[in-house]
Symmetry: none
Subunit: 222 residues, 4 copies
DNA sequence: CATGAATGAGGATTCATTCAT
DNA sequence: AATGAATGAATCCTCATTCAT
């Protein structure tokens, strides 16, 4: 009698909402905001179309809820990383691989972000929840760079947001542009070997960039 | 009666089509495939909605035409580069900067590619024109890497498609994810100084990656 | 357990119903029968939407209750008048001013009656309560006219219902058509001076009508 | 081949619109703005529901068009009156009877105005067309009063807008409140004799009002 | 007496597309 | 080569009402 949540009961608002959100996430990420059909979402839900409006007010409201839920999930992921005890290069490699793996395993999130960009991030701007995302990655990168410079692992005083962009761009692009890139270059980006090679590559690239000296060719230390 | 093209006539099929395509490019890139409105396109055109169907058959037909036109434009750009006479590092830097500048100046193209990816590149696959894009960039990169390895500038035997992806990802992401990235990190990616810094950064990163040794931490020579 | 009415208890059925009726009166009179929203009423109520159905059965049931409550209120008003002891002209003027003031101070009632007319008085017909309204005004007017004819104050043998209509029409119209009339003639009917002038005017008009001779032009004195 | 309008041709936009407006007028006046059903209007039209949106944009747009059309019609009616050559009392009687007859024969218009008042004349305010209605009646009444005062027919210096209201109120109320008034007083206002009696009554009342002296009882002749 | 969750049926509106000229 | 009028088929959304507790 004590526990009540998560069981098979009919009136479980939380579960109903979560059900709708899960289905909606897929529909939006597959068809875009305008292309998604509320009817299609409703059909694949345990509940009816009416409930979507009951809980989310409108198609846009649902889309926003989907977006917020997606962002909330990564935040959790990042926060769980324990990098402070690793040597700088290893720490950075771990962080990069985490980002890489996240995008690789969450194509829905990647697609939603692409869609949101097509809409000039209009919904994200309206969402306090998302705007308040405290981006801990930046602090992690900053700390790693500082430690790396201090112990001589790195030589370049790079801006942490720029470095994050370098990392993100590659990890994100692999997933977001999978189809066009794959088509043009006739390459299947979901092959295991390719994934592994790219995973190493982006880490190598970022690390070599930080190790190399600024404003010139990498001069080997004498 | 003889000459007919490019004059100021009212009924100039080519001009009419080009007019429609220009407007449609903007509409599609702003609202996505499903979000774009045929009516909206027609309204901003010199001609009527009926003409869109006359020339392009359907909304999808128009979208495909827009996509092909956008791809046709880059092809031209790449083909014009003269890199063979430059030393490898300089050649690579030039190529990267060209890619960077292209994406920076063609946000519509970037957006269209994002949209096409949301649709699993379905239209691109159907378009002979786009599939026949012979991707000369890959050959260029391949040649540069070969020359760089030969003359000792580079040490890493990287796959040219992978390198192209590293370059593309960053250049593309900067534009495609401008809005969400800018919102989350409160950074205006269209600031001149930022553009300049990023332009140098991606070139430095790629070059340092190729200069560094494979399969492990960059061990300084000597 | 003994006393229950009128106290501050939470669960006071009478107070709950009265609360709902007050809110509903405003909602119906502002938006009409079809335009009124049960949700909107519920929201502004101390109780929930479910209670509306508990007490009034349906939206129409609530509307009818609102209508009956409004009619019940005027009946009281009219019944309180003591006109028998006043001279005919004065009595009539008092009666007219009472009607005038009633409509002026009860725009909600006026609007409800307008709404009811749009629906062909269908609900009123179904309401015993309203049909049983014994319209004492008619008897009052009848008596006044009789006394006026007897003592020579009036010369016209007018039908009391017609006279009531002449009075009602003006008093009602001022309030019911306040918005369109005000808009077309750019006149604010709620200005104090205008109210006062109209209040006198309708009394003067009715009285001069009863004083003038029937069936012909009023022959000027002297 | 010359004539084209008003025939039975399919593509006759004017006729299509007029058809929609006629049907919509009835639907709106019968059910109110919120109660009217676009589907119901479409069904009774020669064309489809789609055409309603094609020409009028929305239900509100259609309602506004209906309202404007109704107002445009009276304006025409009023303008056609030729009162200048009649003696003041006769002129006034003619004007009053015209107003009376108009409301009596145009219950749809009366109902629309009632509906518009329920909505606080919000649509009318937004309509330039209606706001620009130049209300010639006022000038007519003003002229009649002036002539009547000059030739001694009238003695009261009444405000023409007030007089117009006195007239309008009665004529309008008879129609607008036909159902509630009829129900309460068990009187059928559409009976020929009643109509005739009321038609005379309002004229008599207004005329006797203007004939009587201001600020006091009407002094009996002799 | 009271309530939050749920809903079927219907209602307004939009959209890509075609017809007649 | 061009066009204004017309449209069927969705599509989003709302509303009064009821259920389970």
């Amino acid at each position: 009698m004590a526990e009540r949540q998560g069981n098979g009961r009919k009136n479980d608002p939380q579960r109903t909402q979560e059900d709708i959100l899960a289905v909606a996430t897929e529909e939006f990420s597959t068809h875009g905001l305008a292309g998604a059909r509320v009817d299609a979402i409703a059909e694949r839900t345990r509940t009816s179309k009416r409930m979507i409006y009951y809980y989310f007010g409108s198609k846009e409201g649902l889309y926003l809820a989907v977006l917020e839920r997606s962002y909330r999930r990564i935040r959790t992921l990042e926060a769980d990383l324990e990098l402070a005890n690793l040597p700088p290069e290893k720490a950075l490699r771990t962080l990069i691989e985490t980002t890489f793996d996240h995008d690789e395993t969450n194509p829905d999130f990647v697609r939603l972000v692409s869609i949101e960009n097509i809409h000039h991030a209009a919904h994200m701007l309206r969402s306090e929840a998302i705007r308040e995302l405290n981006v801990s990655v930046i602090q992690m990168i900053e700390a790693i760079i500082a430690r790396g410079l201090a112990d001589g692992t790195f030589r370049r005083k790079a801006d942490p947001i720029d470095v994050h962009m370098l990392i993100s761009a590659f990890c994100f692009f692999r997933v977001s542009n999978r189809y066009t890139f794959g088509t043009i270059f006739r390459r299947d980006l979901s092959e295991k070997a390719t994934i592994e090679r790219h995973r190493t590559m982006i880490a190598d690239a970022v690390i070599s960039y930080l190790k190399s000296a600024e404003g010139g060719p990498v001069t080997p230390p004498g």
